[in-house]
């Protein structure tokens, strides 16, 4: 549904995407994106505990 909200060029690009390729990159993004968020939360908690 989201794809229909985009311009024609983006819609075409989205439609032409290889599903596997997009999934792989998303997995890479999750693996790299989730640990720092957990760790940043831990550091924020440490700062809060030592307030």
């Amino acid at each position: 549904m989201l794809a229909f909200l985009q311009c024609v060029m983006c819609f075409r690009t989205a439609a032409a995407q290889q599903v596997e390729r997009a999934r792989t990159l998303n997995e890479g993004i999750y693996i790299l994106g989730i640990p720092p968020l957990c760790l940043l939360t831990a550091f924020a908690y440490m700062a809060y505990r030592r307030r």
């Binding site: 819609f11 390729r21 940043l40």
Partner: protein
């Protein structure tokens, strides 16, 4: 001299960082002036060019390759050795302990070591000017395949590029050490009467900067290691198959340049905040001091700082909108990018609200703080355009982007640095900088940078691509020559104005007016307390807690390094068709057994630390098991190599060698730490905290090996 060189005094190390960054910024400015000169006078012959670069400027004319080298070195020096070093490492090391009432940084030897590694890194980078082929030409982003295939892709891509990677790797290690030190110092070494929410905003910003440095630099380090292996061990992480460069077929296969972008920009975008957050903290103090009011909305400033750090870690994909990434991902990255505008606006409005109704004193430091707000808002507004995937398709890689990041990351951060120099100079050198010349410097710089970067937006909108050594050869760009001439003269003017600052700096150190103890009537500790030792005596438990916090920070950095490898592993595996499954040797599984047994023995010993004999037996046994693991790992590599599996054989083998190689270093460090802790004699022995820190590190190492086994067993 020896005492100065190897000092662990935070103030002297802060000054060492400061002078290093002065040397770096002068180098960077000279390179930028040469670039601008070449852009508008591409055929100009200057004899001294040839003397400086006989190969790159044959006949006195700068070649396109040399232009790209100048650009690469300018970007690298400015981003790493000026914007990352001055506001955080120079000012932070000097003033953080003073502001929080500590006697020094948490780990003084680490303070000194991180400086000398930074200096080594800078020397390695400059050495690239003197090797065959000259400096690299792949830009500060070092995009493969250009940066990965060696000298075949250009004169600077031989030893010059290798030195670039080595320099950045050393810089990453230094930055990680610095970040660990900052985090432990802020969390654990504050004076007893100073709560977190009473800290100056500079400290909060140094803290968040340290945390995002701790996450970003390990990933860049990991990416650099992979790039180095692509260049020298024939692995194929970033180089695709069947690549033809200068009529040479490149022998690598199956890699993807997208992987480099993915890893590099995970570091690259937070780097913007590494550069600018300390400046934000500093100008908050300066604006408050010279408005004679406490900063408006202190709590919201703290939350906004965390918000920027948090969101800054999630937007690296906006540098990859044109890379073929899924448009769905682009939408997510775009929305997150726009969201950063919220905490940034909170900060901006708070600065304005502090000024409102204040009794403003227009000192040079205050002018630079106001200039910071101005260029930050101007540069931020153009960020809204390039943060839109559709607009970015057009604006990507044009001068619009160059103008945007120079204003928001370069000029704003440098205005913050200048504000800090004028503000803290009396505390650093005991004298005042000349205010009149300071204001001449400020207004000259402000006019110069706006004259330089405002037209640059127009060149970008007109479709002028960046990195073109001679854009006048393209007929559609030729009409932009007058605009570029104007920008070049603006650059010359801005560079010339910096000579005013340099003269002021040198003159004032020797002959400036002697500073009063608190010339600005500021209220933070570095001014109100003549010496940090005047503050309440530190709590005896502080060093102990600092050790644990430092360990947690170190483990966070290692986690990010291996997360980067894990992410690269998944992306490389999914985006290529040449992935060959690696049959893990049985010894890798017994390695887990050795490490876990070592962990158990360490814990048993730790519980009996009061009985030295038992303790030593358990810990020595653990060290022996660690040593056995290390020997076994060497055996595994030999076994694999004997069966013809080397790093260049398959991508999975390459990852195995890289990840186990880095792990090997961690395990060896663990064994050394266990041995040193065990051998420590009375009266220091037993030291429960040192024991606990060593044991926890070893447990982490064992868990890390389990992670690697699962990764290779399931996906390898």
């Amino acid at each position: 001299m020896r005492r100065y060189l190897f000092t662990t005094n935070h103030r002297i190390v802060g000054l060492q960082y400061f002078w290093l960054s002065v040397a770096a910024v002068l180098t960077g400015i000279i390179l930028s002036v040469l670039m601008r000169f070449h852009l508008v006078y591409p055929d100009a012959k200057l004899a001294w060019f040839e003397k400086l670069w006989p190969a790159g400027a044959s006949g006195g004319v700068i070649t396109p390759e040399l232009y790209l080298s100048l650009m690469t070195m300018h970007g690298t020096i400015m981003v790493f050795f000026v914007l990352s070093v001055t506001p955080q490492s120079a000012f932070g090391n000097y003033f953080l302990p003073l502001q929080i009432g500590a006697r020094g940084m948490a780990f003084p030897k680490l303070t000194s070591l991180s400086f000398w590694l930074t200096a080594l890194s800078f020397s390695i980078l400059l050495a690239a000017f003197f090797v065959i082929g000259g400096p690299p030409l792949s830009g500060w982003t070092a995009y493969p395949p250009l940066s990965a295939v060696g000298a075949v892709s250009g004169p600077g891509e031989g030893p010059g590029q290798t030195l670039w990677i080595a320099s950045i790797a050393v810089f990453c290690v230094a930055a990680i050490m610095g970040a660990i030190n900052f985090i432990a110092t802020i969390l654990e070494l504050r004076a007893r009467d100073l709560t977190m929410m009473q800290m100056p905003l500079t400290c909060w910003n140094w803290f968040v900067t340290a945390v995002i440095s701790l996450f970003g630099f390990p990933v860049l380090l990991g990416a650099g290691i992979l790039l180095l292996l692509d260049r020298h061990l024939a692995t194929s992480f970033f180089v695709p198959a069947n690549l033809l460069v200068s009529d040479h077929v490149i022998a690598h296969r199956g890699g993807t340049p997208l992987l480099w972008q993915h890893l590099f920009w995970f570091f690259g975008h937070p780097e913007v905040y590494i550069a600018i957050l300390p400046g934000m903290g500093l100008i908050s103090e300066v604006i408050g001091t010279f408005s004679r009011r406490p900063i408006f909305g202190y709590r919201s400033m703290v939350v906004a700082t965390f918000g920027i750090g948090f969101l800054g870690l999630l937007v690296w994909g906006h540098h990859m909108f044109t890379s073929g990434m899924s448009p769905y991902s682009s939408i997510a990255f775009s929305v997150l990018t726009m969201t950063i505008g919220v905490p940034s606006a909170v900060k901006t409005f708070n600065w304005l609200a502090t000024l409102w109704g204040g009794r403003i004193e227009f000192t040079t430091s205050m002018w630079f703080a106001l200039g910071f707000v101005s260029v930050f808002v101007t540069g931020g507004l153009s960020g809204i355009f390039v943060g839109q995937p559709v607009l970015d398709l057009y604006l990507h890689d044009t001068y619009f982007v160059v103008a945007h990041f120079h204003l928001i990351m370069g000029v704003a951060a440098i205005f913050g640095i200048f504000s800090g120099v004028f503000y803290w100079f009396p505390r650093m050198f005991g004298r005042m900088l000349n205010e009149t010349w300071g204001k001449v410097h400020f207004f000259g710089t402000l006019i110069g940078v706006y004259a330089l970067f405002t037209p640059m937006h127009l060149a970008g909108i007109a479709g002028n691509p960046r990195r073109y050594a001679d854009f006048t050869t393209f007929s559609f760009l030729a009409p932009l020559l007058p605009l570029h001439r104007f920008m070049t003269w603006a650059a010359f003017f801005t560079a010339l104005v910096q000579a005013v600052f340099l003269a002021n700096l040198v003159w004032s150190i020797r002959r400036g007016a002697v500073a009063a103890p608190n010339p600005w009537r500021a209220e933070t500790r570095e001014w109100t307390s003549v010496d940090a030792l005047e503050t309440k005596a530190p709590d005896k438990t502080q060093p102990r807690r600092a050790a644990f916090t430092g360990l947690f920070a170190l483990l966070s950095a290692l986690t990010m390094l291996f997360a980067a490898f894990g992410s690269a592993f998944v992306v490389r595996r999914g985006l290529s068709s040449d992935w060959g499954r690696l049959q893990l040797p049985a010894a890798t599984y017994t390695g887990l057994f050795l490490l876990v047994c070592g962990s158990v023995l360490l814990e048993l010993g730790r519980r009996r630390f009061a009985q030295p004999r038992y303790f030593q037996i358990f810990w020595f046994s653990s060290a022996v098991l660690g040593l056995a693991f290390i020997l076994q790992q060497i055996f595994v590599w030999k076994q694999l190599a004997a069966s013809g599996i080397v790093p260049g054989t398959t991508a999975s083998a390459a990852f195995f060698y890289v990840m186990t190689g880095i792990f090997f270093v961690c395990a060896a460090g663990g064994v050394i730490a266990v041995c040193l802790t065990t051998l420590r004699k009375a009266p220091v022995f037993p030291i429960p905290d040192r024991i606990a820190v060593t044991a926890w590190f070893w447990h982490y190492v064992a868990a890390l090996w389990l992670y690697l086994l699962i990764l290779f067993y399931l996906l390898g």
